[in-house]
């Protein structure tokens, strides 16, 4: 007996068979339990049955043996109707349960606006893919230019004392990105110092020149590694946070709310973040330098049996002001890159949770790529101007 959905009876597997009768008529016999949780027969199976009975022009249904059903059967019948229409078979749904007929009718009665969903996109050819990638590149370059243009205007307004942002935000961001980052920056720098110290110690002891571990660790850390380690930690820690914060504000219409008040998000959100990182990254880099040197000293004294005072004196002799200045300039540039990447990706963020995730990922990738490029460029420049 046909049942209404929701009735629970002992489940028997769904069955499907075709009984041919007189002069082109056939009956599709449906039996068992047709629920989504069952292994339902596929539509193709019905197609095969119809093919095995050539000359069928009209199809009706027998649901005497059907015990229970849900939308699994409804979608099967809807598909079957289309299949029959394509083969010129007249479908007579009279034998189906009343509830099922009503559900089918309901699905058909919603007017098609023609705007739901996207049309199926054919797989693009290589040339059109190349073209669309090029267009994307042009667009994203345009967006980056616009961001820097607006950023420059915001900085000009800052110098003229007209920039609108809350000073309390600036202090808070400085604390979050600076003081709160001390433990992680310290730990990573100390460990990098130890690694550099070990490698130096192993090579230099071959020549009995272990004292030069202090030169190697000190110079590498102060010129490049301190700033680089700080910047990479900050890009994962702070740049990603900037992108997520600004991206979420984009999703929640908070940025629209700022704009409608005539407050530029570049001044209100981006400027304090840029200023905070430009100020904090060099300070963190100095701290990273000290911890890196301590890491080297740990190896030098424990593994390399140097005295601490000899190690520190050698370090002091090796490092000049020019090296410290190089490190600080690099750190400032990296700080600006991390803040700009985080804010840029946040501002570009779409209006969904997935877009916030993409913005965060892309902020980290962008900043690391540009940090490495900047490191290379700065090294060449420092050499050219005689700082190294």
């Amino acid at each position: 007996m046909p049942q209404t959905p929701g009735m629970t009876t002992a489940t028997s597997p769904p069955t499907l068979s075709l009984e041919s009768r007189d002069a082109g008529r056939a009956t599709l016999v449906l039996g068992g339990t047709w629920r989504l949780t069952q292994r339902l027969p596929r539509l193709a199976r019905a197609g095969e049955l119809l093919e095995q009975a050539p000359g069928v022009t009209a199809l009706d249904f027998d649901t005497e043996q059907l015990s229970d059903w849900d939308s699994g059967l409804v979608t099967f019948i809807a598909g079957l109707e289309q299949l029959c229409r394509a083969r010129g078979i007249q479908c007579e749904p009279g034998g189906l349960p009343d509830g099922l007929l009503k559900l089918l009718e309901l699905a058909r009665s919603v007017p098609q606006t023609g705007r739901g969903g996207h049309a199926m996109q054919p797989v693009p050819s290589f040339v059109s893919q190349l073209g669309s990638d090029a267009m994307d590149l042009i667009q994203s370059t345009g967006e980056i230019m616009e961001f820097f243009g607006e950023g420059t205007i915001a900085f000009r307004n800052l110098l003229l004392g007209r920039a609108r942002f809350r000073r309390s935000d600036l202090w808070l961001i400085m604390q979050e990105s600076g003081a709160d980052a001390l433990p992680i920056v310290g730990l990573v720098s100390f460990l990098v110092g130890i690694i550099l110290g070990y490698i130096g110690d192993q090579q230099l002891k071959e020549f009995g020149a272990q004292i030069y571990v202090a030169d190697l660790v000190g110079l590498a850390t102060v010129i490049q590694m301190g700033a680089l380690v700080t910047a990479i930690v900050l890009s994962g820690r702070t740049g990603a946070a900037f992108a997520a914060q600004i991206g979420t504000m984009q999703v929640n219409e908070e940025i629209d709310a700022l704009r409608t008040l005539g407050i530029s998000p570049m001044e209100f959100l981006v400027l304090p973040r840029m200023l905070a990182l430009i100020a904090m990254t060099p300070l963190l880099a100095i701290y990273a330098d000290l911890l890196g040197i301590l890491g080297g000293a740990f190896v030098g004294t424990v593994v390399g049996s140097l005295t601490l005072s000899a190690y520190l004196t050698e370090t002091q002799l090796a490092i000049g002001w020019n090296h410290i200045i190089q490190g600080l300039i690099a750190a400032t540039v990296y700080g600006a890159i991390v803040a700009a990447s985080g804010c840029l990706r946040g501002m570009q963020c779409g209006r969904s949770a997935a877009a916030v995730g993409q913005a965060t990922t892309s902020a980290v990738v962008t900043s690391i790529v540009f940090i490495v490029i900047a490191a290379a460029v700065l090294t060449i420049i420092f050499d050219a101007v005689g700082l190294s």
Partner: protein
């Protein structure tokens, strides 16, 4: 219009002339020409996805139209210099659908921010104003809460309080009653009417809640998603009975356009 409400002065305050709007390759609405009179409660209505919020984005200075002009008090919003546009935008208050409160600030700070940016009031005075605006929306004493600590309906009300911070000429509401319980929705409708009556603020409300529309609207425009343009303007109570256009009557009568006719 026969049903002038108290507070309406009948002067055009915002005028749209042949506005066309879109995103990327998609045209959302075109040929929008209508007036919003000073002191009216003006409702932008239409089915879901017809572009009501897009029209609001254009009127509040967030989306440049593809064609046409928006005149606010005679000045063309999208043709003036950015600084002047910014000044025009400051005379608007906007309540967003979700409230759009700045989540890193307390409710009081949310309301104080526009005051900090554009007035020379002392902090004490700003706090007093914030407390008063919160009281207006029935949330006195909540100033120290963060947006995440209050309910969605309360956030909407704080959104109204923030939109009113600078006593704007025009208040925009994006679906004020959506997602609110019937009592809160009604309170918000009453608040809109009270503010209009006492301050003479022009109200532009996006809505498809019929009860609310019939309660508050002096005037309206009906946007259609199929033809992508406006189908009718006028008082919705009159449009419900007398509009010559079937879709408009169907919308305002919940689909019932005649004894035997359904859309």
């Amino acid at each position: 219009m026969s049903s002038r409400e108290p507070g309406s002065t009948g002067l055009p305050h915002i005028r749209l002339e042949g506005i066309a709007l879109g995103y990327g390759d998609t045209l959302v609405q075109h040929d929008l020409t209508f007036d919003i009179r000073r002191g009216d409660v003006f409702v932008i209505m239409g089915g879901s996805g017809c572009g009501k919020s897009t029209v609001m984005r254009c009127l509040t200075g967030l989306l440049e139209p593809r064609a046409g002009r928006v005149l606010i008090g005679g000045e063309s919003l999208w043709e003036v210099q950015p600084a002047e546009r910014s000044a025009l935008m400051r005379r608007n208050g906007v309540m967003y659908q979700s409230g759009a409160l700045w989540s890193s600030m307390t409710l009081e700070e949310n309301i104080c921010l526009p005051l900090e940016q554009y007035t020379d009031l002392a902090p004490q005075q700003m706090r007093a104003i914030a407390e008063y605006k919160l009281a207006l929306v029935g949330l006195a004493g909540f100033g120290d809460y963060y947006p995440a600590e209050i309910s969605g309906g309360m956030r909407k009300r704080v959104g109204v309080a923030r939109a009113m911070a600078l006593d704007p000429d025009t208040l925009f509401f994006d679906e004020p009653s959506a997602g609110l319980d019937p009592l809160s929705a009604r309170r918000l409708d009453e608040l809109i009417l009270e503010l209009r009556d006492s301050l003479g603020t022009t109200m532009v409300v996006i809505s498809h809640e019929l009860d609310s529309i019939f309660t508050i609207a002096d005037d309206s425009v009906f946007l259609d998603a199929e033809t992508k343009t406006m189908l009718a303007t006028g008082n919705p109570r009159e449009l419900r009975e007398h509009s010559p256009i079937k879709q408009v009557r169907a919308f305002l009568n919940r689909g019932e356009v005649g004894p035997d006719e359904r859309v």
